[in-house]
Amino acid sequence: MSMQKMRKPLGAAGVHAILGAYTVLALWPIFLVIANSFKERKAIFRDPLALPTIDSFSLIGFEKVLGKSSFGLYLFNSLSVTLITLAIVLLIGAMAAWALSEYKFKGNTLLSIYMAIGIMVPIRLGSVSILQLIVDLDLTNTRTALVLVYVAQSLPLAIFILSEFMRQIPGDLKEAARCDGISEYGIFFHIILPLVRPAIATVGVFTMVPIWNDLWFPLILAPSPETATITLGVQQFIGQYVTDWNSVLASLTMAILPVLIIYLIFSRQLIRGITSGAVK
């Protein structure tokens, strides 16, 4: 079947026109902000649609943002919270997924359903009690608080994806290991865990993106300047310097670019991860 055959509703050119137009619509707001962040104030207003030229080029916004805010610290906070959460979710999520998908025991189905509740019910609805709990544990304004809540938030979907994945691991491997007298722990850590590696991309996307972008929990659990994540940091910074267009555009660009670069590098695995496993 070729593109020519679909002439009836719209031809190949029509398909490309629609997809191309939508791509432009999806990209130009981001592009516009990035382009203007490299211009001096006058040029931002005089000719917002132009690219920065030698005359209009300026890094004043970036200098101001780096001078007035702890941008590096926000970035570090976001990175550490996200990566530590991901590591914990992968390890204990894989352990639980393994137990639920491999062993027959009383209450297995019930426990699987229990662990899946969090896929449908947003954790935010428990915020009042989460804050109380964090206060009781003396963890307010710590990254530990964020990690604990994010681990709980990410586990249900991670366990769901990882169990689906583990069910596809051929039984021979496990049986052979058991015949050799390897313990259940040895099987999990030496045979299963390395085999799960391909699922990490999928779990990674579903775990990291919501955490990196979250405003809610940093805002209520860890709003101090020392623990602010990049999303919260940018939100507060822009609230303060709302009229300083250079700073606003530069801080947005600095929040966008790292994600964009990582996304473009990993987009292939990432989208394959979404389309192949999890949700059918």
């Binding site: 079947m1 593109m3 055959k5 679909m6 002439r7 009836k8 509703p9 398909v15 629609i18 191309g20 939508y22 791509t23 619509l25 990209l27 707001p29 981001i30 902000v33 207003f45 917002p48 649609l49 204990i92 352990m95 639980a96 137990a99 062993y103 027959k104 025991f105 662990m115 969090g118 947003p122 935010r124 609805l125 428990g126 009042v128 009690s129 989460i130 804050l131 709990l133 604990l148 709980a152 586990l155 249900p156 366990i159 058991r178 313990s183 999990f188 990196w212 405003l215 940018v234 939100q235 822009i238 947005l252 929040a255 966008i256 964009l260 989208i271 979404i274 389309t275 949700v279 059918k280």
Partner: protein, 311 residues
């Protein structure tokens, strides 16, 4: 080998407990317990010292009975419904269209389109909110200039600032950002359709339009239903975009107030009203009920019926 064969009546299967314990503990302590405790708190009331006492349904009576509370609750619920409907009417159909085009056979640049269109979805809602705030700002004038180029400059209005347009504008910003999710999920479902089915129809002379409408669409209805319920849950739990663009007061004049922002204000207080954890828990429980109704409707009303029809 399953544990049953080693006779787990004889000895306790410690390894299963060890594998399960960390995840079950953290999940129970930081997700299930707070959700249940929030529901419990909604039946309590706090006095000035902060000590709480059982109050039955008093909080619910206040929210649904007190004229001021009821007005703001119904306003948020209605606005949230509008927010959801805009997503259902714009985001999901556009996502479906893009997915259908992307899954056409022998399409060139397929992965480039897919990657680029999905890009805004990866960015923070807060960042996207600010980006569109700048673009729609009459100060900067970008939107006006663009409308001028296409001869529609008279149409320009400060959409984000007006009571009657702010909510729909914010909904459309959210649609713009998240259209990648229905697109990618529906696209994945379209890829799973066996080629034999479509090839047979092609031999019979059906064109792509017919194949999509009569063969593919019925097969991906379960995915569309799933996308709809995911949209519902996400929308009735939304907060970040409104807070970033409009603040906790969800202005102008609460015209963009949704359940998430109402929850935040009730919990933490605003202007002259003091924050109240117990009233906040009550709003959260009401949000939970709204989401529960949606999920149950999906599980028992939609999914079952679709299962029956799917092959």
């Amino acid at each position: 080998m399953k544990t049953t064969q080693t006779g787990w009546l004889g000895r306790f299967p410690w390894h299963i407990a060890v594998f399960l314990a960390p995840a079950v503990l953290i999940y129970t302590l930081f997700m299930i317990y707070p959700l249940l405790d929030s529901i419990r708190l909604s039946f309590f009331t706090a006095d000035d010292s902060g000590a709480i006492s059982y109050a039955g349904f008093a909080n619910y009576v206040t929210i649904l009975g007190d004229p001021e509370w009821r007005a703001s609750f119904l306003n948020a619920l209605y606005n949230n419904l509008v927010f959801f409907l805009v997503h259902m009417l714009v985001q999901n159909p556009v996502g479906l269209l893009l997915a259908a085009l992307l899954s056409l056979p022998r399409l060139r640049l397929r992965s480039t389109y897919r990657t680029l269109i999905f890009m805004p979805t990866m960015l923070s809602v807060v960042i996207i909110g600010f980006v569109w705030q700048l673009i729609l700002s009459p100060l900067w004038g970008i939107s006006e200039t663009l409308l001028y180029y296409v001869g529609l400059v008279d149409w320009f209005e400060p959409w984000l600032g007006q009571e009657n347009t702010a909510l729909v504008t914010l909904s459309l910003i959210s649609v713009w950002q998240f259209v990648g999710i229905p697109m990618i999920l529906i696209y994945a479902a379209l890829l799973l359709i066996p080629e034999d089915l479509t090839e047979a129809a092609e031999i019979d002379g059906a064109n792509h339009w017919h194949i999509f409408w009569h063969i593919k669409l019925p097969l991906i209805l379960p995915t569309i239903a799933m996308v709809s319920i995911l949209t519902f849950i996400a929308n009735f739990n939304a907060f970040d975009l409104i807070y970033a663009v409009k603040g906790a007061l969800a202005g102008p004049n609460f015209s963009t107030d949704i359940m998430g922002t109402l929850f935040y204000r009730t919990f933490f207080g605003f202007q002259l009203q003091l924050g109240s954890p117990t009233m906040g828990a009550t709003v959260a429980t009401l949000m939970f009920l709204v989401i529960l109704v949606g999920v149950l409707f999906y599980l028992f009303g939609v999914q079952r019926r679709l299962r029956r029809y799917a092959m």
